[in-house]
């Protein structure tokens, strides 16, 4: 699915900004930006500003000047020491925890009592920044609880269509050459509430919290497959975990030999139990359910096993009653995390719009942001280096004039895939007939736009455009 951008509305922000500055330098013979800085230049409607505006020094905040009251104290008071500055603080703990003032930055649970069904823990993405999800906040989905695995006793077996079936201990696997790669993991059902025919009023965490990004360290699967000696007639592997359900997925051998890895470390420390300790499969860019946790067995075969999860949950239905199978790829997606539902803007003036973009097909190439519901777009700043199949943070300076606006973002990746506009997405993939439960999964693989409507009171609502 591809879409084209209405060309006349894109502002070539860089050119528009650089040209006048060069002219000024020529005529005046020296840089005078500190003394006579240009105002922040709009690049799109409703106050979106040039993405480079904040990276340079000495640029005057025209918005701040006109709405200065919002950014400065009405009347300053003399400073004095707070209580915590007057005596030594707490004893240093062995394991750090976030400040008690950040106690609300936690995952939300779908099944907190552990009833006999799947447990989802959604990541609080609207309260995080950067591109790495801290391990305690990484989303998890467990279909039969978290097994308490002793790594000394855990075994991984590779068998089936191989020259020599092999059994590995975790200790042995930890001696292999390791690679470290930054990748997102996303549930194939993430963002499913956006299949609702009406926008569900919920946070980024509720709508998109089944995705996270970490730096994973482990052994390339191809290394182990080569040791076992894969039969040339084989075409798939079936991966299986050591959890009670023995969750199992088929993976094309093509992917297994491409960039699949056995991950042991997550952001520098051993995997969290809920993320698959002591070892999980990691298939960069593919739906998270395929990244078999607690990996204990890989069977090399000549056909997909059509396991429960690939046959049922992750075969998305289409409006005509047919269904996709082997969807695998988490396609290019972006959403604004700040501001988003749950935020309330404290008045007109300067804000930075911030969000996350990623693609299971490669690197994020660009992200456009709109503040007028998609009528005009400006290119967001993207933090580098941009890693393939990983979170990319985008930001956009914005001066809000206090009028209602609609913020939205749209991402492109380096495979030329683009986030489909909602109308195109719904035409191709359909939407639910009734508003589903926000925790439900009316369908899978949603990657269209997410839009936030901000009213004149600064309240943020989820809207469709």
């Amino acid at each position: 699915m591809s879409g084209t951008l209405p060309a006349p509305t894109i502002m070539k922000a860089e050119r528009r900004c650089k040209t006048p500055i060069r002219q000024e330098e020529k005529t005046m013979g020296k840089r005078k930006r500190n003394n006579a800085a240009p105002p922040l230049e709009p690049v799109a409607g409703n106050g979106l500003l040039h993405r480079r505006a904040l990276l340079g020094s000495g640029i005057v905040f025209a918005g701040a000047l006109s709405t200065g009251a919002a950014l400065t104290r009405a009347s300053a008071e003399p400073l004095k020491d707070a209580e915590w500055s007057l005596a030594p603080g707490e004893v240093t703990p062995v394991l750090q925890k976030p400040s008690r003032f950040e106690a609300n930055v936690v995952r939300t649970l779908s099944n907190p009592k552990g009833e006999p069904r799947t447990q989802h823990a959604r990541a609080p993405l609207q309260m995080l920044d950067g591109t790495i999800t801290p391990n305690p906040l990484h989303f998890t989905i467990l279909h039969s609880g978290i097994p308490d695995i002793d790594p000394e006793q855990h075994r991984l077996v590779i068998h089936g269509m191989v020259r020599q079936p092999l059994e590995y201990t975790v200790d042995a696997l930890l001696r292999y050459p390791m690679v470290t790669r930054k990748h997102f993991v996303e549930c194939g059902g993430n963002s499913a509430p956006l299949f609702s025919p009406q926008p569900i009023q919920a946070t980024v965490q509720a709508l998109h919290g089944l995705v996270s990004c970490a730096e994973w360290t482990g052994v390339l699967l191809s290394t182990l497959l080569d040791e076992a000696g894969v039969d040339p007639k084989a075409s798939w592997i079936v991966a299986e975990g050591a959890d009670a359900l023995l969750v199992s997925r088929s993976v094309p051998l093509k992917k297994a030999y491409d960039d699949a890895m056995l991950a042991f470390y997550q952001n520098g420390e051993r995997l969290m139990p809920g993320n698959g300790y002591p070892v999980r499969l990691l298939l960069p860019g593919y739906e998270g359910n395929m990244d078999t946790k607690f990996l204990r067995r890989i069977k090399v075969v000549d056909q997909p096993a059509m396991t429960y999860y690939e046959s049922r949950n992750y075969s998305p239905l289409l409006p005509d009653g047919k269904a996709y199978k082997f969807y695998f790829v988490q396609e290019v997606k972006s959403f604004i995390t700040r501001p988003s539902f749950g935020y309330r803007l404290k008045g007109p003036g300067f804000y930075e719009i911030s969000g996350i973009a990623y693609s299971g097909s490669g690197r994020i190439e660009k992200v456009l942001v709109s503040a007028d519901g998609g009528k005009s777009w400006g290119e967001a700043a993207v933090e580098g280096p941009v890693s393939p199949k990983a979170f990319t943070r985008f930001t956009m300076p914005w001066r809000w004039d206090g009028q209602p606006v609609i913020l939205t973002s749209r991402a492109w990746d380096d495979s030329d895939a683009v986030q489909p506009l909602r109308a195109d997405f719904v035409a191709a993939r359909g939407e639910a007939k009734t508003v589903p439960n926000v925790l439900g999964f009316p369908n899978q693989h949603y990657n269209s736009l997410t839009s936030w409507g901000i009213d004149s009171n600064g309240e943020v609502k989820h809207v469709y455009v």
């Binding site: 079936p165 023995l246 093509k254 997909p304 409006p319 695998f328 639910a432």
Partner: protein, 180 residues
């Protein structure tokens, strides 16, 4: 870099001591050979071709009794009509239901082997892999029979089960053919 050289030299020396096969593969070779016979207890993967289906058999009548005795009814409801877990009976239209339609064995699942594979590895939820292979065949027979996919006296075994015709078998589109 000079501090690395003695280590590198030691590594090259060490390579001379490892078996030729490991050098040829250029990998550490720390896996222990194991026979397929020793993997068998773990190998519950059943392929759509029927490969790796175990010996054994069961009938719908046997399955109907097991469905109650083994507690399936607690989550899946009487006669598979659904409860806290999935509906197991019925063939509602996927077109009428829209993209959020309930996916059942009869209206959605493409392969009969998926039912056997999943039930054997994962059910009953509180005590997985406590069903005998005969019991799994019987429960499959029961589920296929109440969905009118087989006759009420048909026996399920390694030969008959893979041949059960699933109504929705041909309605799947491979999303990214070049990735397979």
């Amino acid at each position: 870099m000079s501090t690395c050289r003695p280590f590198a030299a030691a590594f090259i020396f060490a390579l001379a001591l490892v078996p030729a096969a490991a050098i040829a593969a250029d990998t550490p070779g720390l896996g222990k050979p194991i026979s397929e016979a020793d993997v068998k207890a773990w190998d519950v993967t059943v392929l759509p071709s029927g490969a790796n289906l175990p010996p054994g058999h069961g009938t719908p009548a046997e399955g109907a009794k097991l469905y109650v005795d083994k507690g399936c009814v607690a989550c899946h409801g009487e006669g598979g009509k659904g409860g806290t877990s999935n509906v197991l009976v019925g063939r509602p239209s996927l077109v009428d239901g829209g993209i959020a339609a309930n996916k059942t064995i009869a209206n959605f699942w493409a392969w009969p082997t998926t039912v056997f594979d999943y039930m054997r590895r994962a059910m009953p939820w509180p005590a997985p892999r406590t069903l005998s292979d005969d019991e799994v065949y019987a429960l499959c027979a029961y589920l296929f029979a109440i969905n009118n996919l087989i006759g009420e006296n048909d026996v399920m075994n390694a030969q008959t089960l893979p041949n059960v015709k699933m109504p929705n078998h041909d309605n799947f589109i491979v999303k990214f053919p070049d990735r397979i």
